[in-house]
């Protein structure tokens, strides 16, 4: 029984949160990696672009709520995602047309494009703050929990409860669906294959008649989908605050590089690697050991490897270690 309790404890405090946080990171990381693989620059506007997409979802959610439209126990924000995605893609294509395409045609070095993306970051951040403000916004409605701790305890008779938030389940399900469609698209369809070819060798791809404009456009469209969905899911799970989104860029980058930048599957797994590492290392295992160890061996301290203040630092340290020993990432990068 104690053993079961210990497992439930880990499930409740580590595995479920890490899976949902990892999914949100994974979506962002695939976004970063796609841009890096096909457009060949590190996009520092990642976090703010995600905030931009989410902003539309928040605004539309409020609008729909005022109209009285809702999804019952599901959050209203889910209906707004398609509209938000369209706005996001339009924004991205505009930015690409007026900003990035010039440098792409000129074949500027990636560093210059990264600098330009910092300009885009400033502009996007300004737009988000001007439109919706810098404050914390919660836009979750509907049923909050799928499984409550008390219900679980009654069901199983265990000491430990297991809580599953609606948003956590939604996050995981949507991520699996989106990522499966994406991999199917990249691996099976002609457009997806042409994107991979373009990422692998641009000149050769051009020679074999692949239209670069189309590849770039599709890339931004996929990026828009990923950025918006990732942003909305994060916002539903925690809350929408532009500054937090900007900061999330850092673990997202870490995930993309750990997985091997340019490799979408690596980025997908990288998101979970980062999320699990952050939560594993900063969790206090005292209660866990209390369940599995005999009473005489019970620990006095919290048995916490690092305090939760260092949550971000953990993922960055992992990144630095990976960069040092395997700069191409755990899964070899640049193969899209």
């Amino acid at each position: 029984m104690d053993f079961l309790n210990a497992i439930i404890l880990l499930l409740n405090y580590i595995i479920v949160p890490a899976l949902s946080y990892g999914s949100q990171l994974a979506l962002g990381a695939i976004f970063v990696t796609l841009i890096y693989g096909i457009l060949r620059f590190a996009n520092f506007a990642t976090g703010d672009m995600m905030a931009f997409g989410t902003m539309f979802a928040v605004l539309l959610t409020w609008y729909f709520q005022s109209l009285g439209i809702s999804l019952g126990f599901l959050p209203t924000a889910l209906i707004t995602i398609p509209f938000a995605i369209i706005m996001m893609i339009l924004y991205m294509l505009t930015i690409d047309k007026f900003v990035f395409s010039y440098y792409r045609i000129k074949k500027s070095p990636p560093v210059q494009l990264a600098m330009v993306s910092i300009g885009v970051m400033f502009v996007t951040q300004a737009l988000v703050r001007i439109v919706i403000g810098p404050f914390d916004r919660r836009f979750l409605d509907g049923e909050k929990f799928i499984l409550k701790a008390i219900e679980f305890k009654e069901m199983t008779g265990l000491n430990e409860g297991l809580t599953i938030k609606t948003t956590q389940l939604i996050t995981i399900v949507i991520t699996i669906v989106v990522v499966s469609i994406l991999f199917w698209f990249l691996n099976k369809t002609k457009t997806g294959k042409s994107m991979r070819a373009y990422s692998d060798n641009e000149d050769l791809a051009l020679l074999s008649g692949i239209d670069p404009k189309k590849v770039v456009m599709i890339t931004w469209m996929i990026a828009g989908v990923l950025a918006t969905i990732g942003g909305v899911l994060y916002g539903l799970d925690k809350s929408f605050k532009p500054f937090v989104y900007f900061n999330n860029m850092l673990p997202i980058f870490a995930a993309a590089i750990v997985g091997g930048i340019g490799n979408p599957f690596g980025a997908f797994l990288g998101g979970y690697v980062i999320a699990f590492a952050e939560i594993f290392i900063t969790y206090a295992y005292k209660k866990f050991f209390m369940y599995i160890l005999p009473e005489s061996l019970e620990p006095d301290s919290l048995v916490q490897l690092l305090s939760t203040d260092y949550k971000f630092a953990v993922s960055f340290s992992i990144l630095v270690i990976v960069l040092l020993f395997r700069p191409t990432g755990i899964f070899k990068g640049k193969v899209l």
């Binding site: 520092f44 600098m115 330009v116 910092i118 300009g119 502009v123 850092l250 980058f253 960069l323």
Partner: protein, 456 residues
């Protein structure tokens, strides 16, 4: 002289702008803008040494700035005797353990050939060291942080004049840059950018949460200033006399004695803070001028030529027998050290150290905008960039407010859109920065004052 014509024009315009702020807003605002412009100029010089001279991208400026600030705290605050008594020795032991770890790892790396065995030995050294650190420092930090937590709760510093910290800050930042450079300089440009950005976040995380070192997010306030305090000035007769003499024309117009005294008091209060800021500006100006002379000399020395050669074609420079790796590391350290000075200067100016305020937007990306806008590779350009961008950063909000009011003047005061826009005026500074950066990158990619190669 001719070649400096555009430099002089640009700086004259900048000076006029600051004077205009002084005339129309207040001299206090103008001088604080000037002070921060000077601090920004030091930061941009540091970034320019790395990016402009050597083409190294460093997105970790925030980390070095914070280390400079930490130096200011550790140098100027008086030591907290009780804290040293309860935990000082343990902390010194911990420092010894860290040094011991580093040296034993270096020894292992040197003596044992690359093998699995070596990896295991290194891993075990690290694990044992970390456990020892945890065991020793854990209770000590708790004891230290328990010493009068509302006021101290940290080890304190050396109690020396804060001006020393400008040098110590440079050493701190340079030391970090040595480690980061050893680790990350081999990476490709954009990886280097991300790696330095993340390392700087780690530095901030450590400074924020190691309360025994610098009180963390509880902030350290009331750092000693190298210049007189406003309150002391307001109470000293020579200063009041000075103000009276300076404003004698204005004071003569007032007849009533009590009224004149009131006006004089107000003037003294204003003048005291202006005087303090002027003193600080003088100190900062000295630093900027010294750095400018040194960097300018370096840029046009054989060493500067070599750096440009390495930047433009490192393989060719390598073939000519230049040690690219070593020079990159050197310049990375030098640039970061300059940023460290700026960090210490900033804390000196504010008189407080607030780790929570170090954010990448303000301390990394904004500095990069300054370098790019001003003109990378040109010291005058970098300084100008610091001035222009900081000026815009501060003045964008009032300017935006003015424009909003102008364009919505036909709307009633209660209009929702107008209220919303007026409330979000502060965020127009981001928009100004972003659009400015994009325009400069597109139409003047070398910056306002482009790099000039003087043929000797």
């Amino acid at each position: 002289m001719r070649q400096y014509a555009n430099v002089i024009t640009a700086y004259t315009i900048m000076a006029i702008l600051i004077v205009l702020v002084g005339v129309f807003q207040s001299w206090n605002v103008a001088l604080s803008i000037l002070n921060f412009c000077l601090i920004s100029a030091v930061m941009t010089m540091g970034a320019n040494i790395q990016w402009g001279y050597a083409g190294l991208i460093n997105f970790g400026i925030m980390g070095y700035t914070a280390l400079g600030g930490l130096a200011a705290v550790l140098v100027s605050v008086a030591p907290v005797q009780e804290a040293w008594a309860v935990g000082g020795i343990d902390m010194i032991v911990c420092l010894g353990i860290i040094i011991g770890m580093v040296f034993s790892i270096r020894y292992v790396l040197k003596k044992i050939e690359k093998s699995k065995k070596r990896n295991y030995i290194i891993a075990s050294i690290i694990v044992v060291g970390l456990i020892l650190l945890r065991v020793i420092s854990g209770p000590a930090t708790e004891l230290i942080e328990a010493v009068d937590p509302a006021k101290t709760g940290f080890l304190g510093g050396l109690g020396m004049p804060i001006l020393f910290s400008w040098i110590v800050g440079a050493f701190f930042a340079g030391g970090l840059a040595y480690i980061v450079g050893k680790v990350a300089l081999g990476l490709r440009a954009d990886y280097l950018a991300i790696a330095t950005l993340l390392i700087s976040e780690i530095v901030i995380a450590v400074i924020k949460h190691e309360d025994w070192l610098s009180r963390g997010v509880k902030n350290v306030i009331g750092l000693k200033r190298p210049v007189p305090y406003e309150v002391d000035l307001q109470n000293s007769t020579w200063f009041i006399d000075l103000v009276e003499k300076f404003y004698s024309g204005k004071l003569k117009l007032i007849n009533s004695l009590t009224e004149r005294q009131d006006v004089l008091n107000q003037l003294v209060i204003n003048a005291s803070s202006v005087y303090v800021k002027l003193c600080l500006a003088g100190l900062f100006l000295i630093v900027v001028i010294i750095l400018l002379i040194v960097t300018q000399k370096a840029l046009y020395s054989p060493w500067g030529r070599m750096m440009r050669a390495i930047r433009d074609n490192d393989e060719a420079a390598n073939a000519m027998g230049k040690n690219v790796v070593k020079e990159h590391l050197l310049i990375f350290i030098l640039g970061s050290a300059v940023v460290g000075i700026a960090g210490a200067m900033m804390v000196t100016h504010d008189g407080l150290f607030t780790p929570g305020s170090y954010r990448p937007m303000r301390y990394t990306f904004l500095i990069w905008v300054m370098v790019i806008v001003g003109g990378s590779g040109n010291n005058f350009g970098a300084i100008l960039g610091g001035f222009v961008v900081w000026f815009l950063w501060i003045e964008a909000a009032p300017l935006a407010l003015f424009l909003i009011n102008f364009f919505t003047s036909h709307l009633p005061e209660t209009n929702t859109l107008k209220i919303h826009l007026v409330n979000s005026a502060p965020y127009f500074r981001f928009l100004t920065m972003g659009i400015g950066l994009l325009l400069i990158m597109r139409y003047k990619p070398k910056g306002i004052l482009p790099e000039k190669i003087i043929k000797q």
